[in-house]
């Protein structure tokens, strides 16, 4: 590094400003979650955490949220975790298998299928939301995990990513495996899957957060409070009149809602970055 001290200072200052801009709202939510309702409603809100941390979190987790949202925060978290995990894992399983079929097998209408998958990229969820809802109703999947998860479980993007990755695998490697006697399944599990590890990890992070933060679809497909995800629960806790809203509990729920995705990112960061950066095989 030959950069001068001056330019290093400027660079760091810019980075710090960036971090502050991104992190401040989250910090403010945390601050609000540690004050009493009265203090929150009486502006300005202090910039340092208050003394109600234990009280607020205890109340929110053990009953408070149930009183205002209908179900406990734990239930909301469990629901959302199930949805997030199933969506992420389901998307990965389905897309890696379809990419495997498209790249390594020759079958009639192979390219037709590829283009069908590709074209769905152009249709946002909102466009097909009514027919999808109708199908869910007819399959009696309203207010079930099936209904929450299944419509979100196919991913054209992930299929394309795996396809691109699989196409970089040298043909000789596939042939070596054939000569070694590996059939299609063995090749998939012994060679393809281990080589895709980092890609899978990166996708898992992205897709888990995608599943966790779903709003529109869970809102439509759940009626019972028991099946709400935490994002929906959060919305339901906010009533129209400001004074009726238990803001301190809402803030606690907010923190609870962003904690798991942050944990996933932090714990899988090494893999995540590797999966995005790594190209050499």
């Amino acid at each position: 590094m030959t950069s001068s001290i001056g330019s290093r200072v400027v660079a760091h200052a810019l980075l710090i400003i960036g971090i502050v801009i991104v992190a401040f709202p989250i910090y403010y939510v945390f601050v609000a979650s540690t004050h009493s309702l009265r203090e929150i409603l009486n502006p300005p809100l202090p910039l340092i955490p208050g003394d109600q941390f234990l009280h607020n979190y205890y109340e929110a987790i053990f009953g408070g949220v149930r009183r205002i949202g209908g179900v406990s925060a734990t239930r909301l978290l469990v629901n959302t975790t199930i949805v997030g995990l199933c969506v992420a894992i389901g998307k990965i399983v389905i897309s890696i298998l379809s990419a495997y079929a498209i790249v390594f097998f020759r079958f009639p209408f192979r390219m037709t299928f590829f283009w069908m998958i590709f074209i769905t990229l152009m249709l946002p969820v909102e466009v097909r939301i009514l027919p999808t809802y109708k199908v869910m109703v007819q399959l009696h999947l309203i207010d079930t995990f099936g209904g929450l998860i299944l419509p979100l479980i196919a991913s054209a993007t992930a299929t394309l990513l795996f396809r691109q990755f699989f196409m970089t695998i040298p043909a000789e490697l596939v042939e070596a495996a054939r000569v070694d006697g590996a059939g299609p399944w063995r090749f998939f599990f012994d060679i393809l899957l281990p080589l895709s590890k980092t890609n899978i990890a990166a996708l898992f992070v992205i897709l888990f957060i995608y599943g966790w933060t779903q709003y529109l679809w869970p809102l439509l497909v759940t009626n019972s409070n028991d099946m709400n995800t935490i994002i929906i629960g959060l919305k339901k806790m906010i009533s129209f009149a400001d004074a009726d809203t238990q803001w301190h509990l809402v803030m606690v729920t907010c923190i609870l809602a962003i904690l798991p995705p942050i944990l996933v990112v932090v714990l899988m960061q090494r893999w995540f970055v590797k999966g995005l950066v790594e190209s050499e095989k």
């Binding site: 070596a176 054939r178 000569v179 070694d180 006697g181 590996a182």
Partner: protein, 362 residues
Amino acid sequence: MATISLHDVKKSYGRTEVIHGIDLDVTDGEFIVIVGPSGCGKSTLLRMVAGLEAISAGTIEIGGRVVNDLEPRERDIAMVFQNYALYPHMSVYDNMAYGLKIAGLSKPAIRERVDAAARMLELEPYLGRKPKALSGGQRQRVAMGRALVRQPAAFLFDEPLSNLDAKLRVQMRLEIKSMQRNVETTSLYVTHDQVEAMTLADRLVVMNAGHAEQIDTPLNVYRTPATTFVAGFIGSPAMNLMPATVAANGKGLELDGGGTVKPRDTVLPENGRKVFLGVRPEHLSPVDEFNADLKLAVRAVETLGADTLAHGRLADGGATGSEMVVRLPGTSAVKPDEVLPLAIEPGTAHLFDRENGKRMEA
């Protein structure tokens, strides 16, 4: 250990035929090198034997068993690829053991075979490493080890040395040869490098544009090339081929590039026949003008140390004389723009029919 026989093997992609009927019988333990320029179909032929490409016509037998419709793993062969094709996520040990594991061998049996191969290829210190942590030569050895442990009926090599640097290539060439001698496994080896071909092969298959132009021992291919293609492909620098016509009255050959020549100890065909006269650069020697068969107007001189190559044209043909190369001893003092009188060593001239490029034997 097994014989391999190819009978009228053809390959077409759509309506384009790329391999036009190859016949080849490989005896048990023989080392066959398939050599040819790129695009001649040599790799395709090997991949057809391996079962990686379907056969359009003909039959391939390995060990007396027709394998046309068998999967690679059922053919009892092992293959070494140009880019090694090692599994990047497996250790050297696992790379070698993978095929055996699939074949259902017991763990101790696998260990025994891998250890034996590792000892033979001096890979023992690297068994725990990933391919990424190995040099090119070591990776190539692992690829060979992977083939070796299978104890197959035949080894198939697809240009295994072309990714290595020159020095390593020579070393690995010797190792492959001694490994093959050791285990006496029938081998097919594809290369475009004629030195590899000459040094490794028990017999050579010289391929051109989907045909096997000649199948013979390296020395026979060198001494009696069957066609002008083989003559030009095997030997470096390439054989000089000069268009000529058989002159009347036994005067010898009238060169289209100017002058006449009567190679000694060579029986000429009937008068008026249009031929190519082939002379290897190493079979021409400088003589005094009186004894010269040919005169070379030297244009450029390459000094290689041991040898000196003189490039030029036939002096009698002027600017349109046939191009020629002569290999002279390294001590030769030849300079550009000299005229070099040359004699063809007795019995070393080759004659090819100008119509079809085939060798003419008297």
